[in-house]
C-alpha cells in the first residue's frame, strides 16, 4: 500500500459534534484526512458516516435546525470550515461532492461538467472547453462522451452518469473530493469501473468516501474509519483495521457478526 511514511494532513476533524435539532448525531469526532489518500468511512446504517461527510461541505446548512460544534481545519491555510463566519458557498467551492444516486442536471454532457465553472463566473470559452475535456478524461468518460458532448446527460447509463458526476466535481479542481456511497445504485460492472477510477484519482486528490460495502473499503481505501452510533470507534490504516482491529466492536463489524 506504500503508506509507510505518514503523508501530510489535508484536513483535521477536531472534537466535532453535530445536532439535528435536539438530537446529537455525531459525538466528539476527531480524525485526520491525509493528503492524496483515500479515507473510507464505514459503519452500520444510522452510524452518522454520511452526516460526517456532509459536514465537510456544509450541506447541513441547507436545512434548518442543524448545528455544528467543533472544527474541521483545512490545511494548509488552517481555516475552520465549520466556522459560522465562513460562507458555506465558499466551502463548497473548495470541496467537491459526488452523491449516492447519479444526479446529472437535465442539461447536455458538456454543460454538466461546465456547471461549476459557470457558477463561478468563468466566461472564457477556451478555458471552459479545455477543463471539460480534461475532467472527462480524468473521469474515464472521454472516449464514450467525446462524440456526444451536446447530447442530454440523462440519456447515458447509470454508471456513465455517475462518472459524469465525478467529472463535474473534478472540473473545479476541488481540494477534497467527497464520495457518498458512489456505487450503491450501480451494477457490479459499473461499480468496478468507478473503483478503478477512484484508485487512479487518489494519486492526485484527497478523497473521503462513505461506503456500505466493506470489500470496497478494503479494496480502495488507504485509511478507514469505523463509526458506530455517532462515535468514531476506530481510525487507522485500512490494512490494520481489516486485519488487526484494536476495538472488539470494529472486529465484530468487520467479521460480519453484526451490522
Amino acid at each position: 500500500m506504500g503508506a509507510v511514511t505518514t503523508p501530510s494532513i489535508r484536513a483535521d476533524v477536531k472534537n466535532l459534534n453535530f445536532f439535528y435539532g435536539p438530537k446529537q448525531v455525531l459525538k466528539n469526532i476527531s480524525m485526520p484526512i491525509y493528503e492524496n489518500r483515500m479515507t473510507a468511512l464505514i459503519g452500520p446504517s444510522g452510524c452518522g458516516k454520511t452526516t460526517l461527510l456532509r459536514c465537510f461541505n456544509r450541506m447541513h446548512d441547507l436545512y434548518a435546525t442543524t448545528n455544528y460544534q467543533g472544527q474541521i481545519i483545512l490545511h494548509p491555510n488552517m481555516q475552520n470550515i465549520l466556522s459560522s463566519e465562513i460562507d458555506p458557498m465558499e466551502v463548497r467551492m473548495r470541496i467537491g461532492m459526488v452523491f449516492q444516486k447519479p444526479n446529472p442536471f437535465p442539461k447536455s454532457i458538456f454543460e454538466n461538467v461546465a456547471y461549476g465553472l459557470r457558477v463561478r463566473g468563468v466566461k472564457k470559452k477556451s478555458f471552459i472547453e479545455e477543463r471539460v475535456v480534461k475532467s472527462l478524461q480524468q473521469a474515464g468518460l472521454w472516449s464514450e462522451a467525446k462524440d456526444r458532448l451536446h447530447s442530454h446527460a440523462t440519456d447515458m447509463s447509470g454508471g456513465q452518469q455517475q462518472r459524469l458526476c465525478i467529472a463535474r466535481a473534478l472540473a473545479t479542481e476541488p481540494e477534497i473530493l467527497l464520495l457518498d456511497e458512489p456505487t450503491s445504485a450501480l451494477d457490479p460492472i459499473s461499480t468496478a469501473h468507478i473503483e478503478e477510477l477512484i484508485t487512479e484519482l487518489k494519486k492526485d486528490i484527497t478523497i473521503l468516501m462513505v461506503t456500505h460495502n466493506l470489500h470496497q473499503a478494503a479494496r480502495t481505501a488507504d485509511y478507514t474509519a469505523y463509526m458506530y452510533l455517532g462515535e468514531l470507534i476506530e481510525f487507522g490504516l485500512t490494512d490494520k483495521i481489516f486485519t488487526t482491529p484494536s476495538d472488539t466492536r470494529t472486529e465484530n463489524y468487520i467479521t460480519g457478526r453484526f451490522g
Binding site: 461541505n57 450541506m59 458557498m89 465558499e90 463548497r92 461532492m97 452523491f99 457558477v119 440523462t154 466535481a169
Partner: protein
C-alpha cells in the same frame, strides 16, 4: 368436517350463486354510474362544439370564409355590415400578450420565491392570500382597470383615452398570476431535491440553483401553468368589456380602445337580436373562433410539454 365446510364454500363462490350474481350486477351498475359521470363533461363539450358549428354554418352562407378572414373591419350590427374577424382576434391577442408579459414574469418569480426561498410556515400564510386574487370577481377587476390603473397609466401616456387595451391587459395579467404561480410552484417543488443538492454542492448560490437547475427541470410542468394562464387570458370577458371600450379596432397600439372576441359576444348578447339573424349568428362564429384559438394553444402546450418531458 374440513371437507364439508370447504364444499359449502365452493358452492357459495359458484358463478351462478345468487349472492355472486348480485355482486356482479352491483359492480356493473357502479361502473355505469362512473362512466356517466365521466362522460357528462365530454358530452357537454361535444354539445357546445356541435351548437357552435351548426349555428355558425348559416353565417358562412352569407359571408364567405375569405371575407371573414381578410376583411379589416368587424361591424355586424351596422347598416353597412362588415364581417372581418381580424380586429377581434387582434384585440384578443393584444390583451393576452400584455397579460402574459405581466403574469409570466410575476408568476414565475412568485413561484420561485414560494418554492425555494420562503420558510414553510410563511408559505402556508402567503399561498392562500395569493390564491385569494383568483377569487375576486372579474367585474371588480374590470372597474379596477378602468378607475385605478387607467388613470395611473394616463400619467405616463397623457394622450391615452379612458378606454384602452393596455390597462385591461395589465389587470388580466395581475388576475392570472395565481394561476401561473400556483402550478409553477408545484412544478418547481416536485424537482428532486438531489438535483438542488448537486447544484449547491458545486458551490452555486440559491439564485443560481433556482435559475440554472430548478426552473429548467420544472419547465414541462411550468408550460402547463403558462397554458392555463393563456387560456384564462384569451377567455377573459369582463375586464376587457369594461375597461377596453368594446370597439373592434385593428391596431397593435395598446393605448387604443379595442374589443376582444369575448367582449364582442357579451356586448351583442346584451341587446335584442332576432333568432337566426346574421348578428345572432355572428356570436356563434366569434365563439367558434375563440374555441379554435384556445384549442390550438392547448395542443401546442401539450406538444411542448411532451417534448420537454422526454428530456427529463
Amino acid at each position: 368436517m374440513a371437507k364439508s365446510s370447504s364444499k359449502r364454500l365452493s358452492e357459495f363462490t359458484a358463478a351462478n350463486h345468487p349472492v355472486r350474481r348480485f355482486r356482479r350486477l352491483k359492480e356493473k351498475a357502479i361502473e355505469l354510474l362512473l362512466f356517466l359521470a365521466a362522460a357528462s363533461s365530454v358530452l357537454v363539450t361535444l354539445a357546445i362544439v356541435g351548437i357552435l358549428v351548426t349555428e355558425s354554418l348559416p353565417f358562412f352562407a352569407h359571408v364567405s370564409l375569405f371575407e371573414f378572414l381578410t376583411e379589416r373591419e368587424w361591424t355586424p350590427l351596422f347598416e353597412n355590415a362588415k364581417y372581418g374577424i381580424a380586429p377581434l382576434i387582434c384585440g384578443t391577442f393584444l390583451a393576452t400578450l400584455i397579460a402574459l408579459l405581466v403574469a409570466i414574469p410575476l408568476g414565475t418569480v412568485t413561484a420561485a420565491y414560494l418554492s425555494e426561498y420562503v420558510s414553510p410556515g410563511l408559505r402556508e400564510l402567503l399561498k392562500p392570500i395569493l390564491e385569494l386574487l383568483a377569487a375576486i370577481p372579474t367585474v371588480v377587476y374590470g372597474y379596477f382597470a378602468l378607475l385605478f390603473v387607467t388613470p395611473l397609466l394616463q400619467v405616463i401616456f397623457p394622450d391615452m383615452g379612458g378606454f384602452n387595451i393596455l390597462s385591461a391587459g395589465i389587470v388580466i395579467g395581475i388576475m392570472i398570476v395565481p394561476y401561473v404561480s400556483s402550478l409553477s410552484e408545484d412544478a418547481m417543488r416536485s424537482v428532486a431535491s438531489h438535483l438542488r443538492e448537486a447544484s449547491f454542492a458545486m458551490g452555486a448560490s440559491r439564485f443560481q440553483t433556482v435559475f440554472r437547475v430548478v426552473i429548467p427541470s420544472a419547465f414541462s410542468g411550468m408550460t402547463s401553468a403558462y397554458i392555463l394562464g393563456i387560456s384564462r387570458a384569451l377567455g377573459e370577458t369582463m375586464v376587457v368589456a369594461i375597461a377596453a371600450g368594446m370597439q373592434p379596432n385593428l391596431t397593435l397600439n395598446p393605448t387604443q380602445p379595442a374589443a376582444t372576441i369575448t367582449a364582442f359576444i357579451v356586448q351583442v348578447s346584451l341587446g335584442d337580436l332576432p333568432h337566426g339573424s346574421i348578428g345572432y349568428q355572428s356570436i356563434y362564429v366569434a365563439g367558434l373562433t375563440l374555441l379554435i384559438i384556445t384549442l390550438s394553444f392547448n395542443v401546442i402546450g401539450m406538444w411542448i410539454r411532451k417534448k420537454f418531458q422526454e428530456r427529463e
